[in-house]
């Protein structure tokens, strides 16, 4: 049954697999979006072709609403696709993927609405659209231009589907809570307690001093890894910095000026990791 949440995810998986994507599994470390998964951030660097698709649990502490908001959570699931290089018929491929999960595209008003995406802490940016269906944003569609401060060549395209919204739409429910995850189990059975408890932790309990220290420690650790020529563990440390920052932010422990400083520190790390990654993978590009 394609219209369960898991059925929809499986249909996306199958569709992109048929397009030659390597189907990855979610990353083991907290990320704010599928973009931060090394299968995207690192693989879009350099010249080698790469196609992947995966579900990414995206952790954004400041978006938590204790499970009370119908579609805002501190953890949501993105379906992430990277095609490198971006094929010329990518918009049609994308629209066919909607068809594949059961959306009769021509009956809807599906619109590509300008969106210029930027992730300053990764030194990454791109141009593209928010895809709207009948006024609802369902996907971010981005041609990456830069990652880790490097101009990309070839250009990758990223599709990030908002799976909860699509799932709610397909099932005709107004709250994610009521969405059938499987035939017998609803979203709220799986995740409601998680939203409540994680929101309480993120907003009320998370120890600000501990996470401020984590940030500093993992920043230093990332540097050591980079110096040792180990970009992959270095990148995991960057992700831990990023998550620590997000928690500090949710606790309102980051002042406006400190924010800029934290972001700059993360961007420097991300740039150093990107360089170290290319040094290992394709040193000729840096020469």
């Amino acid at each position: 049954m394609a219209h369960t949440f898991q059925g929809m995810l499986a249909a996306l998986q199958e569709y992109w697999e048929a397009q030659g994507c390597t189907i990855m599994q979610p990353y083991h470390t907290e990320v704010g979006a599928g973009t931060s998964n090394p299968a995207t951030f690192l693989r879009v660097l350099g010249s080698r072709s790469w196609r992947t698709g995966y579900v990414e649990p995206s952790i954004r502490p400041d978006d938590g609403r204790y499970g009370e908001n119908p579609f805002r959570f501190q953890q949501f699931y993105q379906y992430q696709v990277i095609l490198k290089p971006a094929p010329a018929d990518i918009q049609d491929l994308y629209l066919a993927s909607l068809q594949a999960i059961g959306i009769d595209v021509p009956r809807h008003d599906v619109r590509f609405v300008e969106d210029n995406w930027e992730n300053p802490s990764l030194g990454a940016s791109g141009l593209g659209w928010e895809v709207w269906m009948d006024g609802m944003e369902i996907t971010q569609f981005t041609y990456f231009q830069q990652a880790g401060g490097f101009d990309l060549d070839p250009i990758s395209v990223e599709l990030a589907y908002g799976t909860e919204r699509l799932g709610m739409y397909l099932q005709g429910v107004r709250r994610a809570h009521d969405m059938q995850w499987s035939q017998d189990v609803r979203w709220s059975d799986v995740l409601l307690q998680n939203e409540r408890q994680m929101s309480a932790y993120n907003y009320e309990l998370a120890d600000v001093e501990v996470y401020a220290r984590h940030f500093d420690d993992f920043e230093a650790e990332a540097r050591r890894c980079i110096d040792a020529g180990l970009p992959l563990p270095a990148y995991d440390c960057v992700l831990k910095c990023s998550h620590s920052f997000n928690l500090l932010d949710a606790r309102r422990a980051v002042a406006v000026t400190d924010r800029a400083d934290y972001i700059l520190r993360m961007r420097r790390l991300a740039q150093a990791v990107a360089r170290a990654y290319l040094e290992v993978e394709e040193p000729e590009i840096l020469a």
Binding site: P70, N116, D134, R252
Partner: protein
């Protein structure tokens, strides 16, 4: 007379890019034709989200032949050189002309068929467009990727390869309803794409949208979304959605913001009546029932969020929100918003006192200062950032605060941009000044002043707002006291765009600032007066001033010893500056006395005491004039 059609087919262009293309393409087309050496009759440009089309009608069939004369070697050069030159130009050596001792290759040339020139006309259309943002893809660089290219001269395709795309005669219509089809000629283009459900001409789409909105009811567009929407659709269909009238319990601006920010829906309201529980929007096709239902769902979701936040905020009350500001940090290390609010009270007090605004204004401004930041922790502002200030005023009203207090809270963010609406009430103006001044002062004291194009804390805008409000209300603000010595000059710098806009010149503004005036209203008054006084009289004052400054040299102003004044001209000048001129007219009246003094009196008198006395007199004149303006800044 062939007609040229170029259609650049793109993935969906942003509305701003469409407008940039619409503005630039006519000039690019004209230049490209001129450069190719062909004149055209009428030219037209059509812009839609997925296509940029340029049309040039009535081109010549060919570019006329051009006679060319190329000078070769000297006529007495070796045979080999002469025949080589002839060969290079495709001529028999016997056909070379001899003139002035040289050989010449003369060619009457051949006419160039216009089709051969078309590639040179098309390329600059793509390469010459300047978008505010452009992207790279495998094919090149443009606002969004180019996916097809139609280039036709009458009904023939002209082969061109640009941006990784080869030209053809097939266009793509409406993304879901149009498929693809052939394009006939430039003349048939609009009709051809219409067959594929595309209105390529923006004015037609706009008119269609307006007609659809008009037919549906008295629509409003406070956020100015119509222009943008015109470039977001290729086949506009105006639809109407409804929502539960219960949501109208929300303040009207909240409902309108939910409709217009991000979603671009049009509210419906009869003149003088309340909002109606429906909204209009522009779709790009689809099944109207499905599309309507989806958009209704989205708006209801947003209204639900707004209502949830609004009710919760009302329950909390503005006082409770204000009490939470201690946990929200302001600028790094500069404490919390509660600390900022604590500073605003005394600041508004001082501004009210300095400008004798009376007790009522002072009381309202002080109360508003205490509450003005409370809405930053409200649910409504976290949903809709646009409502900052307005939300606070609504919650203050709900708490029974005076109207003057509520208005000041709403107005204290103004102006939101250069030339934007200014606070309408005195209390609002004072609070807006204090809020911005505090931000500037704190940022400067922490070394966070803007550098180059980087102004992350919006300090230039804040300072410009301070100056605009001071001028608008005629308030004295004591810049150094308000924002600190370090930032006072930064604040006065913001006068420049305002005054230049009025026609005042940079030199006049510099001269006004050179007077030592520091109050924005004073500097502005002096600069405007100088501007109005431009002409021979002002030039006379400038020359007299410059002469005094030059002669006085290092001499300092000071009391003149009357007993050492000998000459009439000297005594007259001393008498004339005893009361320094208070106006430019008075300054001009001083000029004849200055000139007569320099004509009749030898400043560098042999007697040292007389000389020093005279230099002091000259320095006094310079100082008296300079107190009006630094006339030396004015162009001579």
């Amino acid at each position: 007379m062939p007609d040229l059609l170029v259609e650049i087919g793109c993935e969906e262009l942003p509305a701003a890019a469409c407008r940039q293309a619409e503005a630039q393409l006519p000039g690019l087309l004209e230049d490209a034709l001129a450069k190719a050496g062909i004149a055209s009759g009428e030219r037209r440009v059509h812009v839609a989200p997925r296509r940029l089309a340029a049309v040039a009608l009535g081109l010549p069939a060919e570019r006329a032949a051009e006679r060319s004369e190329v000078r070769g070697p000297r006529a007495d050069a070796p045979e080999q050189a002469l025949s080589g030159f002839a060969r290079k130009h495709g001529l028999d050596p016997a056909a070379l002309e001899h003139r002035d001792g040289f050989v010449w290759a003369i060619s009457e040339g051949a006419p160039t068929p216009v089709a051969d020139l078309v590639p040179d006309v098309v390329r600059p259309l793509i390469e010459g467009l300047q978008f505010s943002k452009s992207m790279r893809w495998e094919g090149g660089r443009f606002s969004r990727p180019i996916r097809w290219l139609v280039v036709k001269l009458d009904d023939a395709v002209v082969p061109v390869r640009l941006a990784g795309v080869a030209s053809g005669g097939t266009t793509f219509g409406h993304r879901y309803e149009g498929g693809h089809g052939p394009v006939g000629t430039a003349a048939s283009y609009l009709g051809d794409v219409r067959e594929l459900r595309v209105m390529a001409a923006a004015p037609e789409r706009r008119a269609t949208i307006v007609a659809g909105l008009d037919a549906a009811g008295p629509w409003a567009d406070p956020g100015g979304k119509l222009d943008e929407v015109t470039y977001l659709v290729e086949w506009p269909v105006v639809l109407e959605g409804r929502f539960d009238a219960g949501y109208l319990e929300l303040p009207e601006r909240v409902v309108v913001t939910a409709m217009q920010s991000h979603q671009r829906y049009f509210p419906v309201r009869r003149e003088g009546a309340a909002l109606e529980p429906r909204f209009l929007f522009v779709a790009n096709g689809g099944d109207p029932d499905v599309v309507r239902a989806g958009n209704e769902e989205v708006l209801v979701g947003r209204l639900d969020d707004a209502r949830f936040a609004y009710r919760r905020d009302l329950e909390r009350g503005i006082g409770a929100m204000a009490a939470e500001l201690g946990r929200v940090s302001f600028l790094g290390g500069a404490g919390s918003l509660a600390d900022k609010v604590g500073r605003l009270g005394p600041l508004v007090g001082r501004l009210c006192e300095r400008n004798a605004l009376g007790e009522d204004v002072a009381a309202a401004a002080a109360r508003a200062a205490a509450l003005c930041k409370a809405d930053l922790v409200s649910g409504l502002v976290s949903e809709f950032a646009d409502l900052e200030g307005y939300a606070g005023s609504v919650y203050a009203r709900a708490a029974g605060e005076d109207e003057a207090v509520c208005a000041a809270i709403e107005e204290h963010h103004r102006p939101s941009e250069a030339g934007g609406t200014l606070p309408a009430s005195a209390a609002g103006a004072v609070l807006a000044l204090a809020d911005k001044a505090d931000t500037v002062a704190v940022a400067f004291s922490r070394g966070l002043e803007p550098t180059g194009s980087r102004d992350p804390y919006g300090l230039r805008r804040a300072a410009a707002g301070i100056v605009a409000i001071a001028l608008d209300r005629g308030y004295r603000i004591d810049p150094a006291g308000l924002v600190g010595d370090g930032a006072a000059g930064f604040l006065l710098d913001r006068l420049e765009p305002i005054l230049l806009e009025e026609g005042v010149t940079v030199e006049e503004l510099r001269a006004a600032r050179g007077s030592g005036a520091v109050e924005p209203i004073e500097v502005a008054a002096r600069a405007r007066a100088l501007h109005a006084f431009a002409g021979p009289a002002r030039d006379g004052v400038r020359d007299a001033y410059n002469r005094c400054v030059r002669i006085a040299g290092e001499a300092a102003p000071g009391p003149v010893d009357e007993s050492l004044l000998g000459d009439d001209a000297e005594r007259d000048l001393a008498a004339a500056v005893r009361e320094p001129p208070a106006t430019l007219d008075a300054a001009a009246a001083l000029v004849p006395a200055v000139n007569r003094f320099f004509d009749d009196v030898l400043v560098m008198a042999p007697d040292e005491a007389v000389r020093a006395n005279r230099l002091r007199l000259v320095a006094n004149v310079a100082a008296a004039l300079r107190a009006l303006a630094d006339f030396g800044q004015l162009p001579g």
